[in-house]
Symmetry: C2
Subunit: 174 residues, 2 copies
Amino acid sequence: MRRMVLVLVAVGALAGVVADMAPASAQADGEAAPIFGVKMPPGYRDWRLISVAHEEGNLNDLRAILGNDVAIKAYREGQLPYPEGTIIARLAWDYVPSEENNKVFGRRQSFVAGPPKNGVQFMVKDSRKYVATGGWGFAQFNDGKPADEAVHRTCFSCHEPAKARDFVFTRYAP
Amino acid sequence: MRRMVLVLVAVGALAGVVADMAPASAQADGEAAPIFGVKMPPGYRDWRLISVAHEEGNLNDLRAILGNDVAIKAYREGQLPYPEGTIIARLAWDYVPSEENNKVFGRRQSFVAGPPKNGVQFMVKDSRKYVATGGWGFAQFNDGKPADEAVHRTCFSCHEPAKARDFVFTRYAP
């Protein structure tokens, strides 16, 4: 009996160590994205708003950029580079004209968010883990499933022009 | 001295009663909006995201609709009418083409949030206080100051076409 208790204590301690070592990006359930191994962070839809945007062309979406608490604090304090544990989420929805709103305004001018579109993307700051990509891990999930490796190969090269702002394009909308 | 203590106790009790009676909309500091008496709710910029939109024409903005905890819960559960204490906030920013993003995409397609624009608007649910306007109090603040009475006279009539959804146009973006 005494041995069993000792084993349980040891397992408990080990579990604690493992939990401490797990990066923020790996605490979620679900499949990890290729290359960077980022999983969907739990509760990201509850995160606070950084800004909004509209992409025309093939993307044709309305998007919201949300941040976890570390991200929001860094944005508001103008902290650069972003601290370890920063996660920035990019949500997007179909760009849909609102006939209902247009009637009220008396002209065709209103566009609202339709169904989710173009996946959900994340940037996760972990300077040691992602040395080769500016300290950021990238991930895109389509309907909750990681996009393929080819998609993930494009992330960092697209973000490189924003190097002066730690590879983050989006500015905070007050 | 004893009379002074009694007076202080009485004032304290009265203050407590007044505080209890104050609706959610009146707990903030700052000037109240005309007609409805709504003040800017503290911390609204930290509220969770309901959806995003783009208005062309004279408004020419990108907007985010945020909700307090009561609002978010009601939205996610599809609760209609919205419960007492619901507050919905509409923030908006100038609709600005992003040359920086366009360079990355290789075409002119990216629009981001510029400086705040068209004020911040609120809908506050208080069925008893706002009987004449569907149970909602409305407010618009420009640079933190309430817009004038004429502006506030237009709020409810614009929202009336959305009566079937308790006068709220914006749908939840998942």
